[in-house]
């Protein structure tokens, strides 16, 4: 059902949205038109073949969340023990300046649009139609707020910048659309941590979030995305990254929340010698569906991409991994490697994994490997023969499987904290 969203857009365009700059109004109108034409995706769409969004389509998330406030004390467990890191906090999609450490170049999208909209014009909704999804179009039409960060040329950010997207029960049955823009200019260096979490309960809501990032020449970005929202809710996210020459982007994505979670990660290597390293870990239990779609576009020569995604699925959980790598005829001497491994802990868990390599250059090194398996019983016997009890042996092996990607998290406090979070979650799985 898309009519409620079209009505939601009309209402938004009539009041709040009407004050935004003309260029944004146009982009929003085009986006809702695109959404009207596509509708919500179905399993007939190739990109959604294994991921039925029927539970979202059947519902109506066209309502905006009720306002809600959270305290710093409630956020504390999610700050990786680093309360001093700069942070931008959004509660049910709305910026909370009281919880945030705002400054002119690290603020909310809404404030940016109010004060200097021209700065945002080149960056919002700029990616082409092949990089959009029905949800990202809906997001562009409806998103009211999000983060707006600009790291000026040559600046080295001393600490990770933490974006927290918090939902609360006031978002029950509502849609939370946030859109963030991150611009890292030439030779700058920055780390971003992006957290999605739910406080005070398990609301059933639709999070529909987009990050648009552009990375300048020779710039260096590390990005950790941690999705641990309410297991009753739905989480749809899209991260789009544009990279300039000689830039370095390293991403880690942890998906463990929501009953249905989908993340599209697209990186475009738009100039020679850019490098993208994508690591991911997804955990599913009960009836969770966790979908990761990554796309890496090698459009220029001598770029490198390296990707490792791992999934651990128990009960009746369903994992989906789709890894696209496009190499255009211009992109000679591309070096691309993709690995996806899934561990199934029950007979009813399953995973659909599909590498999708489209290579149109001849002088390239592209490899991919996918494995789906169960724990090797020889591992268990080996550990047990040393005196380690069966259940602990099981936990050690599952944790070891996850460690290979967790170890790649650039920020040590995040890495340490997530090891704990994942271990705790895996204890519940085992």
């Amino acid at each position: 059902m898309i009519e409620p969203y079209l009505r939601q857009f009309d209402a938004f365009a009539a009041n709040g949205g009407s004050t935004s700059p003309a260029w944004l109004q146009q982009r929003r109108a085009a986006a809702i038109e695109s959404f009207r034409r596509s509708g919500l995706p179905s399993t007939k769409d190739e990109d959604w073949r294994f991921t039925s969004v029927a539970p979202i389509s059947r519902g109506d998330f066209s309502k905006s969340p009720e306002p809600s406030r959270v305290s710093l004390a409630e956020l504390e467990p999610y700050l990786f023990g680093q309360p001093d890191w700069p942070r931008l906090v959004f509660v049910n999609g709305i910026f909370d300046p009281g919880l945030s450490t705002e400054h002119p170049r690290q603020t909310s999208l809404r404030r940016g649009l109010d004060t200097a909209p021209a700065d945002l014009e080149p960056h919002i909704g700029r990616h082409g139609p092949t990089d959009t999804t029905p949800f990202s179009s809906l997001n562009l039409a409806l998103a009211k707020d999000g983060a707006w960060i600009r790291i000026p040329a040559g600046v080295v950010e001393p600490a990770p910048i933490h974006l927290l997207f918090v939902t609360t029960p006031e978002a029950s049955d509502a849609g939370v659309h946030s859109r963030s823009v991150i611009v890292v200019e030439a030779k700058a260096r920055a780390q971003f941590v992006e957290s999605y979490l739910t406080l005070r309960g398990a609301p059933r809501h639709l999070t529909n979030t987009v990050i648009e990032m552009s990375i300048g020449e020779g710039a260096w970005v590390e990005h950790s995305r941690i999705q641990r929202e309410s297991e009753a809710g739905f989480h749809i996210g899209l991260t789009h990254v544009d990279q300039s020459a000689d830039s370095h982007y390293r991403s880690f994505s942890l998906a463990m929340g929501a009953s249905l979670a989908r993340h599209d990660l697209q990186t475009r290597l738009n100039a020679p010698e850019a490098e993208a390293l994508l690591y991911g870990l997804y955990l599913g239990n009960r009836d969770q569906l966790v979908d990761n779609h990554t796309s890496i576009f090698h459009d220029h020569p001598r770029c490198r991409s390296w990707e490792v995604y791992k999934g651990i699925l128990d009960d009746r959980a369903h994992g989906v991994f789709n890894g696209k790598i496009f190499v255009t005829p211009l992109a000679q001497q591309t070096d691309a490697k993709q690995t996806n491994r899934a561990l199934l802990l029950s007979d009813t868990a399953r995973v659909d994994t599909k590498p999708q390599l489209e290579i149109f250059a001849d002088d390239v090194k592209c490899t991919h490997g996918a494995t789906v398996g169960q724990l090797d019983p020889m591992w268990a016997f080996y550990l047990r023969s040393r005196g380690i009890p069966a259940d602990q042996a099981h936990r050690m092996m599952v944790a070891a499987f996850a460690a290979e990607v967790l170890d790649e998290i650039a920020s040590e406090p995040v890495r340490e904290a997530l090891r704990g979070v994942v271990a705790q979650r895996l204890d519940r799985l085992g």
Partner: protein, 257 residues
Amino acid sequence: MALLVIKDLRAAIDEKEILKGINLTVDAGQVHAIMGPNGSGKSTLVQVIAGHPGYQVTSGEIWFKGQNLLDLEPEERAQAGVFLAFQYPVEIPGVTNAYFLRAAYNEQRKARGLEEVDPIDFLDLLEARLRLVEWGPEIMQRAVNSGFSGGEKKRNEILQMAVLEPTLALLDETDSGLDIDALRIVAQGVNALRRPDNAFVLVTHYQRLLNHIVPDVVHVLADGQIVRSGGKELALELEARGYDWTTERAATAGAAR
């Protein structure tokens, strides 16, 4: 005093009987060597003692320190003091040697009602054991056996044995594929750990290990049965004459019965 008593042990895998009535007694303080042709059931025997869940034990008993091991889980057997050095040690990517060994050590202590040791104290203990196998501390940060050479894997088994100090150590071809130095290190590990209250069972194809570790008893296992037992001279005789003569006799003995 008997430390291990095996009575009429029969075991099968996938319906195929491999062990066909093993009787074996190992006293405290002894070293036994088990030799025998490929496929005769030597690894099966030691794996069944350690509790490998892939085998079906169809009859018999394995008495160790007053308990029938067949009633215990593999980890309980280890906690009781049984150690198996695998013929093919398993690679465990993602778990460091240090973490693995400390976990094993502490689990065994817990099971014996002792306090766990913290990482610092464990490091001290480890240092002495590493010296025994002539290894530096770097090896402890590598994933268990991951990418180890064949010889390094065997040496790692000896390190684990040295840390866990078992009462009954079963070494399954720990000498195979070792260079001369590694063989010496393995032998020196075993000899250093020998005590009047523990025992070793060495599965081997080669007399050369037995030059370094002198066995009290040598057995020949053929087609799932111990067909001959003797002193250390038996190993020399096997080296000189091969196995045929031992199995021929067994066949004759079987036919006469």
